[in-house]
Symmetry: C2
Subunit: 341 residues, 2 copies
């Protein structure tokens, strides 16, 4: 969809500098501590070999985490960083679903009550699961929800909330994926990471660097909304239009102001894939790798198949598997009719 014209510069808020300082100082020991924090509530996700002809591709299947996405890592790490006294008042978050699910799982494990503010574009399956886990869900329009994400404030209550992206323990928790890749495949040339809020890209990049690996981090987006590609083009975070897509969880209205200074330092490139490529990817992953993935993960796989990664050792981060089953079924069937034509 490209950027709005004229470009709207997104105001930087003070937190960004603080966050960047906190996060850029993260050491290998910090990432290892996070790995210890989450060990009992997450899996070391497998790195599944994909039989590509012209590249070595492996899939980091975060879709297999208990909460259905990588977000259980950072959510668990955030709760581990909070005092028992603070936890006793419960936790509040804003999330397209996956972070909320992660917090709900982590909260249940520790007996902490959880409230989740979600956009009404989120997959129904995610909201149902949140409620089944005992969380309170509050739905908002996407614009309203985005305001909550940007200001970190919810309505009149002014309740402080755990931000799904811009918290140091969130980013360090995400980094445990980079730590695992560094051990599972030290030779990896490239890690391809879906760009949602940026916390996944940044965490993985910093952990790979802290582990002494030369693995480059390439972000990926889908054509219907390209905040990162647009920000890189302009050299600053700008607001973009958000087109319709079955792919949720990535494709925001802008790079979060707090994240730009980090993102611009650690991400090596960005790949924008077509919706049709993501749909083919979803079908390939179901048929050949026997994985149910959500849109963002399909985008990472699609990006990994691009010609520019020929003769490379590539990891695609399959960020999650929380897709509505009717959507998933429809996409599988679309493939059958196309292949039959």
């Amino acid at each position: 969809m490209g950027s709005l014209d004229p470009p709207v510069e997104v105001t930087r808020i003070e937190g960004g500098t603080v966050l960047a300082q906190q996060v850029l100082g993260t050491t290998l020991a910090d990432f290892r501590r996070a790995a210890d924090n989450i060990a009992h509530h997450t899996i070391v996700s497998p790195l599944l070999p994909w039989h590509g002809r012209d590249r070595e591709l492996r899939l980091k299947a975060e879709s297999l985490q208990p909460s259905g996405s990588f977000k259980i890592r950072c959510a668990t790490n955030v709760l581990a960083s909070m005092s028992a006294e603070r936890l006793s008042r419960g936790v509040v978050t804003a999330s397209a679903g996956n972070f909320g699910l992660g917090v709900a799982f982590a909260g249940r494990a520790r007996g902490v009550s959880v409230t989740v503010h979600a956009p009404d574009t989120a997959a129904r399956t995610k909201l149902q699961k949140l409620r089944a886990l005992g969380a309170t869900v509050v739905e908002h329009s996407f614009d309203e929800w985005w305001k909550i994400m940007s200001t970190r404030r919810v309505g009149a209550s002014d309740a402080p909330l755990i931000h799904p992206v811009c918290e140091a323990p969130v980013i360090v928790g995400n980094g445990t994926i980079g730590l695992e890749i560094a051990q599972q495949w030290p030779e990896a040339d490239v890690a391809i990471v879906p760009y949602g809020g940026g916390g996944l890209c940044v965490g993985i990049a910093l952990a790979l660097k802290a582990s002494g690996r030369a693995t480059r981090v390439v972000a990926c987006e889908v054509e219907s909304s390209t905040p990162l590609a647009s920000a890189r083009e302009r050299g600053k975070s700008i607001a973009v239009t958000r087109g319709p897509s079955w792919i949720d969880g990535i494709g925001s209205q802008s790079v979060l102001p707090d994240m730009w200074s980090l993102v611009s330092k650690v991400i090596d490139a960005v790949v924008v894939v077509k919706q049709s490529e993501a749909e083919d990817a979803l079908r390939s992953l179901a048929r050949d790798s026997h994985l149910v993935v959500e849109g963002a993960a399909a985008v990472a796989f699609a990006a990994a198949m691009r010609p520019q990664f020929r003769n490379s050792r590539v990891v695609a981060i399959l960020s999650g598997g929380n897709i509505d089953i009717p959507t998933f079924t429809r996409l599988l069937q679309d493939g059958a009719s196309t292949e039959g034509a």
Copy 2:
């Protein structure tokens, strides 16, 4: 479907005694050697926690293996046990698909030509994949194919074939799953294993025992064909009718004569599940664990949900994920219409 009436006793052939002696003598060192043999071509499959309310259930996701099922373990181990001279003439096997796929993957990795004899009931997706891997596929009626399996002879050529079940290196290769469970979850009370030819059950049971674990092995079958339950009832292998089912890979016409002496020693119990339970299981695994599984794996999950395993630590062996996508899609949709009703 139960047994034929009057029961037809299946003739024991001499190989059974030899096989039993070979296999029952397998030591922990033998299983570890097999694990080394296969390490570069297989994954250590993850043990995925399932959030059950009244039991601790974990899923051994063999559906994530490169060939789409556990059979790559035993196929790779068999090829490792053969001389280069014998391999130079190529290898022949009879397989409902998964073992053939395993041999095709293992053969490709070692540059060995592969011929596969398969029943025409096998999932199309499996046969297509075999051909894509460069294997020659010969299709037979199920009865003809079963004769090949039982006699180990193919037509006039009298070519010796690698049996997908009744070979010591096959059973020891399967046992590497038991070895992994012994490390991943030493406290497991029960491992629930789909009963196809019996080689998976026997391999896992012997490896768990060799590892000093008390984990019981429970086999599972689907109601449309129950050779093991019938054999246990009669105390000997008998022929049973085979009803129609979307579930392939398990449910033979009888316990293989060579296997009965082994099976009757190491399997603690058998659970027979309904087709509808397996269908619900397939849907649950797609929705909540984000796995695409084939029928046999769904049967194992369904068995693990039975009341008798309440308050137990249960591993369900999800043997594979090679299911025709149209079948998979249809089963997902059936669930949607049922749930909507």
